[in-house]
Amino acid sequence: MHRIYLKKHTVANEGFLFKKQKSTRTMKNAINKVRNIGISAHIDSGKTTLTERILFFTKRIHAMHDVKGKDGVGATMDSMDLEKERGITIASAATYCEWLGHEINIIDTPGHVDFTIEVERSLRVLDGAILVLCAVGGVQSQSITVDQQMKRYKVPCIAFVNKCDRSGANPFRVIDQLQEKLGHNAVPLQIPIGLEAAHQGVVDLVSMKAIYFAGANGENVRIENIPQDLLREAIQKREELIDAGSMFSDELTEAVLEEQEITEEMIISAVRMGTLTRQITPVFMGSAYKNKGVQPLLDAVTKLLPCPYDVKNEALDMDNDETPVTLSGELEKPFVALAFKLEEGQYGQLTYIRVYQGSLSKGDTIVNSRNGKKIKVGRVVRMHADQMEDIETIPAGYIGALFGIDCASGDTFVSPGLNLTMTSMFVPDPVISLAIIPNDNKSQINMSKALNRFSKEDPTFRTYVDDETKETIIQGMGELHLEVYVERMHREYTADVTTGQPRVAYRETITRKAEFDYTHKKQTGGAGQYGRVAGYMEPVNGTKFVFENKIVGGNIPTQFIASCEKGFRQSIVKGPKMEFPVTGIKVVINDGASHPVDSSEMAFVAAARGAFREGYYKAGPVIHEPIMKVAVETPSEFQGAVMGLLNQRRGIIVGSQDEGPLCVVEAQVPLAEMFGFSTVLRSSTQGRAQFTMELNSYKQVPKSIAEELAKTAEKEKKGK
């Protein structure tokens, strides 16, 4: 057996707790007893509480805290203060636990749409997931987004209908919604014993037993006969379950047809088959907060969700035209892993990896397939929220973390000699920016520390210093995205900052071909400057900037061509029209002139800049703005109102999708018009509509808006 020895350390006042522990433990490496799962759901459906309970019952923690806890401790998985206070999960903390001899690696994923890159990265490395739904709220728009992401990465899932103790709880309505709204073949494996305040436990439809949860923390599971008043319903629901399961098992179908005894194993194996192919979504229920239904859910994770062997993972062979290669998951094979999350701690960068093939041990040399850099692995650890344990090896199928490795999120690590890459994950460009100004010197230092860390952790968060205003600008994917980072700066780094108005990331581009012929000449004492650059510029699709040199006969000496390109590149950083970055432009130089004495690199940089300005104004420059794909989910009676709101915001309504009592309106709306939309939407629909948005494309700003932008820019220039 492959043996790995663990050490556990604790050091106070650190992001991570190192606890020296003399004893070592053996990590079992039976791959079919490993589960890499995510817990995904709509915000506030209780997934962090559920994770907390799972960690308690698997004895990873010894006390439970609530998300919005009065005890001031907060749930273990919400390791950032801000998450604890807002009751939301931002960064996916990875942790592992053990249940019935199985090792479960859990990634706690954020629920808000602005952090979906985190969710997507998590889903990429998971083999299965628990979809947590609220028994009162049901399937909400964020559940739809998360579900689509799960579909994209083909993650099999089981559903947990939480909050059955709340007033208005109705798990069967949620099951109906799972079927109607998400198109899942949702099949309950339990029915509740009492709902709302009377919720006591669940009836297991496989074993046909009632399960109660006694003790202060529900740790004593009591199994009894099904109460008489629930027996009929249980028999009926069991039949439905067997019906659904028989689609996936000949053995079960045969047993049904021949009226033989139907064993628990038969049902479980059939449901598992359906779950792995995403054709059945088994539904469990309970109340994590009241400690009901968590242990049976853990049983289900071990019995129904896939082990790493059940899932086919592919990498792309870079030496062979990116042909997909199936990764075997065998330990003896060369090592392949994906870095899916980075975190900056005080001792350096922590890189979370998922190993797909081979194994990684301390002291191994691996290669980052993106840049070919060789890396010597120092420390190998495994995470439990903000605590960590040193381990010797991470075998295939496991999630672990490395220390002090310089890489980016989404990089692939391989054994030397291999040239494979896991499918690269798409990272969208930021669409919104915000100026932040530190209020004192200390804040200035802390702010840069914070920004350095955030931008490494999150590829959609970027930062730069504006050359003219000297202001620090942060960029991201939405208002809330930036808001959370500003608050984190304040809390985690005590950086006191003032923020400006959020700004849309406009761009400039040209609409037609135009020629330029510019001579830069300066002969006022000292060494002169001379350079002539001629050619043309034209629009180009799908790329920011293309430079082409068509000079023949050395009209511009070869050594100055790079200076010309430099001059053009400098010019596109801030467009001459409105000072927005220029994109989609191709510059071709085909003529020029030089002077044997006065021509220099500097002269040609200046000539290229002049040439750019000259050609740019003739090339019909326009402003482009980010257009968001907005999906509003609303009760049908507000459909008209919602369309009206979108229409007022310069939105193009692409369509409306009728889904029974609800409907989804899809539109393309300029981001500039979306500020404060959530408030307006709430007040127009009695708070019953929700929306998600993501970047769709960049489009030309209408003339009237462009004029307004020009006026604002003019005013700002005067103000400087």
Binding site: N541, Q639, G640, M643, G644, N647, I652, I653, V654, G655, S656, Q657, D658, E659, G660, V664, E666, Q668, K699, Q700
Partner: protein, 233 residues
């Protein structure tokens, strides 16, 4: 320029009368074919032809989600512009987009009063006022006549014409004029009926009812590679 060229060269003009719409206000048209032959592709071409003339099109689908319909339009538009070697098509596409509205219903959730309510809402708020409606996936069953008569009234009231896709089946017997049995009882409501008939590697675009009478009209085909209507193959 590109727009004009696309309209003028489009072989769909042979289906209708020169320079006019194929259907007049309140008119009904049907595209018949077996599953997978190209009904939606032809409907989308009819829609694009109308969109290029600057008119407004409401596409109602009872089978597919909004995204899938959008994709159909993108693909057909791409093939269409590629077949004429058109450049700078992005701008044209962006110009067409606000003229198109996709509405999807579940088959059982679709009713004429519901459609009328939605349509009135869109018109009253000045959001969208279509001149052409496409209904893809309508069930031509025993009760269809009532719904179709209501739709006819709605089409007249709102000054628009409607195109339907009609799924035919291999085992289905055809009535007089090659009309499939599902359409026989309601064929009087239709001004034009087009059938897509696969024959070997060709898909013939045949007019079963309506259309220009002159025999000079070239034979039309659906190119199986691009799903575009062609007059020469």
């Amino acid at each position: 320029m590109l727009k004009k060229e696309l309209i003028l060269k489009n072989p769909l003009r042979f289906i209708g009368k020169e320079t006019q719409d194929i259907l007049s206000e309140g008119g009904f048209g049907a595209v018949l074919a077996r599953a997978g032959v190209g009904k939606t592709a032809l409907l989308v071409q009819l829609a694009l032809h109308t969109l290029l003339k600057g008119k407004y099109v409401l596409h109602i689908s009872l089978d597919d989600p909004v995204n899938k319909i959008s994709l159909w339009y993108k693909e057909v538009f791409r093939h269409l512009t590629q077949s004429y070697d058109a450049k700078n098509t992005n701008k044209l596409w962006e110009d067409l987009l606000p003229h198109r509205f996709i509405m999807t219903f579940k088959v059982e959730g679709f009713s004429v009063p519901k459609l009328e309510e939605r349509l009135t809402d869109l018109k009253e708020q000045n959001i969208f006022s279509p001149q052409m409606v496409l209904i893809d996936g309508f069930h031509f069953n025993d009760t269809a006549r009532t719904s179709l008569s209501d739709l006819k009234r709605l089409a007249k009231n709102h000054s628009l014409h409607v195109w339907f896709s009609v799924k035919t089946y291999r085992h289905e017997k055809s009535g007089p004029g090659g009309m499939p049995s599902s359409l026989l009882d309601v064929s009087d409501l239709f001004d034009i009926v087009i059938q897509l008939q696969p024959e070997g590697k060709k898909i013939h675009v045949m007019t079963l009812k309506g259309g220009p009478a002159d025999s000079d009209r070239p034979a039309l085909f659906l190119d199986p590679a691009t799903m575009l209507v062609k007059d020469i193959i």
